[in-house]
């Protein structure tokens, strides 16, 4: 092959590569990142929420103190090491309505991550059955369930700071609850499956 032909071949290959790259940019490709990002308009006054439900440092510390002393929580973690990975406010909701209403602070929600996934066998854990109608105060019913669960790597703990009490210790996302049984004779007072009580499927 002459030098001129070699050069021509290289040029053709190079041009083809450039064309392929341009084509890929134009039509997209499997590894391509997303396109242009949207922008946000200045939020209108009507869509602004005054946040009065944040959790102060002292409140967070109090919640952790209550959690660590709670027999249900201690029973759930047993001898497994854990870390507090999230803590945030636990507030009332707006019920099923869309009218304006200010959420009120109930306490703290804590996510505890266990050093290794564990199983819970017939542990007595507190649970708060939340009443989305919020007609009662507090807006939940307490019950102590006997819980058996597999693959528990997180626990979600709810602390009612007004009452100074841990009211729920639940196996976190990713775990499987095999059984959660309330005590004999327990009667649920929170409306169950009322038309407006569920998220909506």
């Amino acid at each position: 092959m002459t030098k001129a032909r070699k050069r021509a071949s290289v040029a053709v290959v190079f041009a083809a590569l450039v064309a392929l790259l341009l084509l890929r940019t134009a039509i997209g490709g499997p590894d391509r990142a997303g396109p242009a990002e949207p922008s946000a308009l200045e939020p209108e006054a009507a869509t602004q929420v005054v946040d009065e439900t944040s959790l102060g440092q002292a409140q967070a510390a109090r919640a952790l103190e209550l959690m660590k002393a709670n027999p249900g929580f201690r029973s759930a973690v047993a001898d497994v090491q854990y870390q507090v990975t999230k803590i945030g406010p636990w507030t009332t909701s707006n019920g099923p309505f869309t009218r304006e209403k200010k959420p009120e602070l109930l306490g703290a929600s804590v996510v505890v991550t266990l050093a290794r996934p564990t199983e819970l066998h017939d542990r007595k854990l507190p649970s708060a059955i939340y009443d989305v109608t919020e007609k009662t105060s507090p807006p939940y019913q307490e019950v102590t369930n006997r819980v058996t669960a597999r693959g528990v790597s997180e626990l979600m703990v709810l602390v009612d700071l007004k009452r100074g009490k841990v009211v729920s210790v639940t196996p976190g996302l990713g775990s499987t609850i095999v059984n959660s049984t309330p005590p004999t004779g327990f009667q649920r007072t929170v409306p169950d499956l009322s038309p407006d009580s569920r998220e909506g499927g």
Binding site: A33, G88, S194, E199
Partner: protein, 225 residues
């Protein structure tokens, strides 16, 4: 004999729940960062709503999904149907495909969607205790269009836990659910760019009633070809 009767009753209840599903309607929640997003001539709200009303006190979840390039509602649902093969209750997205001159014109519409869900009634007898659920929205022809994104639809996603019994019902963890949806899209052979763009709807970890908020404010882009 008695055992057989008990089994039949449980089976009948499970079948009924599986067919009927949880009852509709919702616990509305409070958005910290509700605003209007724009891209070219299009506008849409960065949360979906529990009713046809734009209010920060009546939202369901942050918008965190955009299926673009050549998407329609049906095309997206077909491609996720191998896992998200059930439906839930409807929620509402707010948008306009052409905001008009200056971006202040009309054309705003509502779209309702019941979405796709991995289990119809989580927590019901013989059902998993949790389900992942997404909803997607578009206008009348089931797709929106602009030059930047092509034909697209947008949506939200979240988890439903013990929705139909078994323990206290909880909903949320939308950031986690978004990651799972991107994983499913990719394992189905399609491409996604996780946390590609800010949708200005960051929600720090908090629990509002039974609504567990957690969203990093960045939406995922799903390529549709």
């Amino acid at each position: 004999m008695r055992r057989a009767h008990v089994f039949l009753v449980i089976a009948a209840a499970a079948a009924l729940l599986a067919v009927v599903g949880p009852r509709p309607k919702a616990e509305a929640a409070t958005a910290r960062n509700l605003t209007l997003l724009y891209i070219d001539e299009d506008r849409f709200r960065n949360y979906d709503f529990t009713d046809r009303a734009v209010t920060p006190y009546g939202v369901d979840w942050p918008i965190a999904l955009v299926f673009g390039n050549n998407a329609t509602i049906d095309r997206v649902k077909a491609r996720l149907g191998n896992e998200y093969d059930q439906t839930g209750g409807p929620m509402y997205g707010r948008m306009t495909d052409n905001a008009g001159s200056g971006g202040v014109g009309g054309g705003y519409v509502w779209d309702d969607d019941s979405g796709g869900k991995t289990t119809k009634c989580p927590g019901a007898p013989f059902q998993p205790d949790s389900a992942r659920h997404y909803r997607i929205y578009a206008d009348g022809d089931d797709r929106l269009y602009n030059l930047a994104w092509g034909y697209y639809v947008f949506g939200s996603t979240h988890w439903d836990r013990w929705e139909c019994g078994g323990d206290t019902a909880w909903f949320g963890w939308s950031e986690n659910a978004e990651g799972w949806l991107a994983w499913r899209w990719s394992t189905n052979g399609y491409s996604a760019a996780e946390d590609w763009a800010s949708f200005y709807n960051w929600e720090p970890y908090r629990v509002e009633g039974t609504h567990v908020w957690e969203n990093d404010g960045y939406a995922t882009w799903f390529w549709v070809f």
